[in-house]
C-alpha cells in the first residue's frame, strides 16, 4: 500500500487563516497529461495506492475534471481515491457522483458555529458554517463522508465539550483532530495558538465528553494514545518514516517523497524530498531512498533514545523538526508537545 497525495490545484474557495497551503489564490490546475504518467507509474508499481486529493480545494476542479480523473485513473481493487474538502461545494450532484464512483470523502470542520466561523471564512471574511454544516449532514446521511478533521485553534481551547457534542449530534463516526501549526514559513499564515498555549485542558475536556458519551465516537487521537499507553513498546509506525510509502504530487507534475505537505510548498525545506517529475519516472519503486531518509531515521532513533513519550508518536513530526528547530537532528517540537505529550499526560492520568 502507498499513498499518493495529489494537489489538483492550490486554489481554495475559502481563506482559512491557519491554512499552510501556498498559492490559495492561484487557479492553475494539474494538467490531465500528468495523470497519464501517474497511472503508468501506479501500474508499474507493486502495491495498492490510495490517491488523496488535498492541498487546495479539490472540488473547485469541477465534475468534468474528476470524470476525466476516473477515466485516466479508474477506481479498482488496487486504486482508491479520497477527496479532502472544505465541504462548501458538496451539492446533491457531487454526493451522487462520489457515491456512484466509490470515492471516499473527508470533510474539514472545526465544529460548532462559534468555533468554525472564527477562522474558516470566505475571502470577504464571512463565516462558512451554515453551508458546511448542511453539507456535512447530507453527506453523512448519504454515506459518502467517512471522516471529519477538526483543527484545534485558540478558539477551540475552552470549547472541547461543545465540539464533541456537535460532531456527535451530526452523526460523525470517525473524527481526527489536527492542531494548528506552522508548517512552512511564518509569513504565510496567522497562527492563533501562541507558544505558551497548552492543550492539556482541551484534551481533558474532550476526553471527559467522550467518556460521558460511552466512547461512542472513533476518535483518532484517543485510539492512538490508548494503544500506546497500554503497550510495552511503540505500536505506531509513522507513515512518513516508512520506506516508499508516502508520495505527493504538486500541480506542476513534481513528485515528492515522505512528507505529503511538501508538495507545492516551493521552499528550501522541500528540496531534500524532491524525487523528480512524473514525466521522467516509471514506477514508485525505481526511486531509491533519498539522502534525507537516513537523516529521518537517525532523527527517529534520537527520539526513541531521548523522549519519554516516544511510544506515543514513534518519532513522527519530521517536517515540524525542520521548520521549528531548523534541523532533523532534534527531538521536541511544539507540535509534538501539544498533539502527543499533553494528550498522553491527560489519557495516562485517566487510566492510572
Amino acid at each position: 500500500m502507498k499513498r499518493l497525495f495529489v494537489q489538483g490545484s492550490s486554489f481554495c474557495d475559502i481563506d482559512c487563516d491557519y491554512c499552510f497551503v501556498r498559492g490559495r489564490n492561484d487557479k492553475a490546475r494539474l494538467s490531465l497529461d500528468y495523470l497519464h504518467d501517474v497511472y503508468r507509474i501506479i501500474n508499474n508499481s507493486e502495491t495498492d495506492v490510495e490517491i488523496v486529493w488535498h492541498m487546495g480545494e479539490p472540488l473547485v476542479l469541477g465534475f468534468n475534471f474528476f470524470k476525466k480523473v476516473l477515466e485516466y485513473i479508474p477506481v479498482s481493487e488496487h486504486i482508491r481515491h479520497r477527496i479532502v474538502t472544505n465541504g462548501l461545494l458538496l451539492n446533491d450532484d457531487w454526493l451522487s457522483f462520489l457515491a456512484d464512483n466509490c470515492i471516499s470523502l473527508t470533510i474539514s470542520s472545526d465544529g460548532p458555529i462559534e468555533v468554525h466561523d472564527r477562522y474558516r471564512t470566505s475571502r470577504k471574511e464571512a463565516g462558512t458554517f451554515e453551508v458546511v454544516h448542511k453539507n456535512l449532514c447530507r453527506s453523512i446521511k448519504k454515506g459518502v463522508c467517512d471522516s471529519v478533521l477538526c483543527t484545534i485553534t485558540k478558539e477551540s481551547l475552552s470549547k472541547a465539550a461543545q465540539i464533541y457534542e456537535y460532531f456527535s449530534s451530526v452523526g460523525v463516526e470517525y473524527l481526527g483532530f489536527n492542531v494548528e501549526r506552522q508548517l512552512d514559513s511564518p509569513e504565510i499564515q496567522v497562527l492563533s495558538l501562541e507558544k505558551f498555549d497548552s492543550l492539556e485542558l482541551f484534551w481533558k475536556d474532550l476526553y471527559e465528553a467522550w467518556e460521558k458519551d460511552s466512547y461512542s465516537l472513533f476518535i483518532r487521537e484517543f485510539y492512538r494514545t490508548l494503544s500506546a499507553l497500554n503497550s510495552d513498546e511503540c505500536p505506531l509506525q509513522p507513515d512518513e518514516l516508512k520506506s516508499n510509502y508516502n508520495y505527493s504530487l504538486s500541480k506542476n507534475g513534481d513528485l515528492y517523497k515522505y512528507i505529503p505537505q511538501i508538495a507545492g510548498s516551493d521552499s528550501l525545506v522541500s528540496s531534500p524530498f524532491f524525487v523528480g517529475n512524473v514525466k521522467n519516472l516509471n514506477s514508485f519503486e525505481e526511486t531509491s531512498e533519498l539522502p534525507v531518509y537516513s537523516e529521518m531515521l537517525n532523527s527517529q532513533r534520537l527520539c526513541s533514545e531521548k523522549c519519554d513519550f516516544y511510544r506515543f508518536c514513534g518519532g513522527a513530526f519530521v517536517l515540524e523538526k525542520l521548520v521549528e528547530n531548523g534541523m532533523l537532528n532534534s527531538t521536541s517540537t511544539a507540535a509534538c508537545e501539544r498533539q502527543v505529550i499533553q494528550l498522553a499526560k491527560v489519557v495516562s492520568r485517566k487510566h492510572g
Partner: protein, 59 residues
Amino acid sequence: MKDTSRIITSSQRGTVKEKEYLPEHILEAMTSSLEGKFTKKQIDNIKQKTLDGFGMSTV
C-alpha cells in the same frame, strides 16, 4: 434483504489485535461506532491507518 456482510460479531473483532491494547469496553464502543458504515476489513484498515497515520491530516 438485510446485508449481513456488514454485521460484525464480537468474535470477529480485533484482527489488528497485536497493536490494540485498549481497555476492552472502550475498544468495543469505538469499534461499534464504525460498524454501521464499514465492513470488518475496512475497520481493520482504518485502525491500522490510524496507528500509522502520523504526519498527515487524513484518515
